[in-house]
Symmetry: C2
Subunit: 445 residues, 2 copies
Amino acid sequence: MKSILVLGAGRSSSAVINYLLDYARARNMLVVVGDVSQAAARDRIGGHSSGQAVAFDIRDLQQSAETIAHADVVVSLLPAHYHPAVAGICIEHRKHLVTASYVSDDMKAMHQHASDLSLIFLNECGLDPGIDHMSAIQVIDRIRASGCELSGFESFTGGLIAPETDPDNPWRYKFTWNARNVVMAGQSTARYLHEGQHKYIPYQQLFLRTTPVVVPGHPAFEGYANRDSLKYLDAYGLKNVSTMLRGTLRYKGFCSAWNILVQLGCCEDTYELSDVATMTHRDFINRFVAGASADSVEQKVMMKFSLEKNSEALGKLRWSGLFSDEKVGLDSGTPAAVLEHILNKKWKMNAGDNDLVVMWHRFTWTEKGRKKAIEASMVVKGEDAVNTAMARTVGIPMGIATRLILEGKISQRGVMIPVSPEIYEPALAELRSYGIMLNEREVDS
Amino acid sequence: MKSILVLGAGRSSSAVINYLLDYARARNMLVVVGDVSQAAARDRIGGHSSGQAVAFDIRDLQQSAETIAHADVVVSLLPAHYHPAVAGICIEHRKHLVTASYVSDDMKAMHQHASDLSLIFLNECGLDPGIDHMSAIQVIDRIRASGCELSGFESFTGGLIAPETDPDNPWRYKFTWNARNVVMAGQSTARYLHEGQHKYIPYQQLFLRTTPVVVPGHPAFEGYANRDSLKYLDAYGLKNVSTMLRGTLRYKGFCSAWNILVQLGCCEDTYELSDVATMTHRDFINRFVAGASADSVEQKVMMKFSLEKNSEALGKLRWSGLFSDEKVGLDSGTPAAVLEHILNKKWKMNAGDNDLVVMWHRFTWTEKGRKKAIEASMVVKGEDAVNTAMARTVGIPMGIATRLILEGKISQRGVMIPVSPEIYEPALAELRSYGIMLNEREVDS
């Protein structure tokens, strides 16, 4: 009996596990779900006849190897830094591997070895990275097939909340994914290509230099640049592109408010704050502004950033309770840890909340001497707190990729990302049946 | 014959070497100057009968040990990261050590060992750290002796240029010390104490949150905070102080112009820029602003920072050639390396230039229920390009400390900084004879 091993049963694992269970049932296969909590694995399977829950801890390499040895394909939802260990065992026991994580240098180094053993190590096969690659390269290949060459590509993806969720939340944002990563986002200089020039945006400018993003039928969005937009030039075969920018998408107004926290130094993670145990939210902000009195923290922030009392940015900070006298509720922490803890009080997903995934691409090229531009966008709404848009858009592509591997539909071998037609064509077609698809429109170039 | 070993004959070694040569001549001692360039060591000695030049490379530990074994006291002017190696040999061969560098964790770890061997490892005995400690603690001890307790201490020191040097230079600044350190200054969050509260200033705020500094008879200065102002609370015995801030001093207006370079990201050292070989100064700045055209770089900077065309800050950048079409002249480099190279074209000390060292302290305390404040300041002007104020104010304290050690005037043992009266009283008295002294004045508290 063929067996699929899914590693990790945490938040956002539901969609890929459900996809694979349904696939396995019809084909008499087994889906083994491994998690440090066997109970969590059991919960995810929910009594499905094709599922089996096991305790799995990648830090126990011997036991991990025994579990992996029984699988035909391994789907890893573990934190990215565990993937080299998983991949090492997959090489040893000759197993294919699917992840939604960025290809690390360690992973890249296994390419030849995996290729020699005829293994598929398919990474970046979730939402972002994942659907963004697949949907972008499909358009790029089509433009290329028409004899034209892409001149510009911009792409932003974000995990937001649906309009009816928490309608008074002025950020229009909650933590739908890793909260710590959200607080720490952007701390390395971003690099991108603009009209042939290499451009650099340091952290202190990142949330000030945003790109407006329009998706018809939705409120205005904005995007900020991700760390290195240039690294996909080769993967996408974009040798002559003059503009290349990838980034993160938020509702318009998020970035200018977040920028205040960045400028104050609230997102730093390099040192421990003193006296966290007795600290209120207001005290926390007061650490980062001049002057003694904590009473006037809000005024000091207004002065510093030239904000009106009823400005949108200040309203967002106020709504998040950053000027309140509530105790932080931690014993210690870095600024980033304290900020995450404060924000989580309002930004935690509650029962009834629905998330919203938004992806947007812009392609420009010249056709018969005329400049052309297409914008493609996707909006996916979560169904409930378990079947989130994030879980579905990350998980279903991984499920489809696993299916393609089991059915022998992928001929490529080694470490790869989903940019070849044999993967993206069937994957995008099947995603469409789940309502996960991009809509294109021609726009002014 | 007693022997003093001076390690390092670079820029700014002249004053300490001259001091020690004069001292040695009268007492039939020998001053051995060791440098990787024996010729440089010979130059510094200048044929003085009490001097001897040797080749010295701390990376050759065996030869270094042989040289150190012959000395009675070692004065190290080597880069700070070599001091643990020097100190290790000093322990092995039981030699006293004097440096002007901050006490590193490695150095601190040697305290018990040095103390057990009855050795003096005196650090932070130059200008800043050095004279700042000695002059501050003298006042603090005096206030304490009057039965009062210091409530506030602020201190700023800077190496600037004398008014007649380069009078058209709007920064009133040149590289009189380590240029790389100037470009990289402040990249860690600064911490200080303000009216009982711990405060944090991230890099992106550092050059915006300056303290005005007034020295009678001089143009206005300003100070920005150094990394950790709290680490001297214990060393100074300041248990109840509510305000403590140490920092770097510049002429007023320096910081707001420098802040532009910080905000743009020009001071980063974490990645290599592309295409440095073909880059002009203007191209360099253009990498950090939005928009393609390099022609309008100055306008883009004006817009971004809301600057008028004839504003002082913009004038400083323009004077430094940052908008010029001159080639950078490097093959590769990080932003910080390229910026240092560009700035050095105008900020290099030339023959005829004189430097200026300025130190300023502010002490506050309560005496018989009344708030009191004293400001103490020192201005030392360089004599020429070799006998700079920086070389004299760093070197003479080290020379005096060496004399005190040779004469058995220091009873303390182990790793120390010059905050005890047995060091600071004779040192400050002798520095006064060199015209190196602080003037105090009572001010409004």
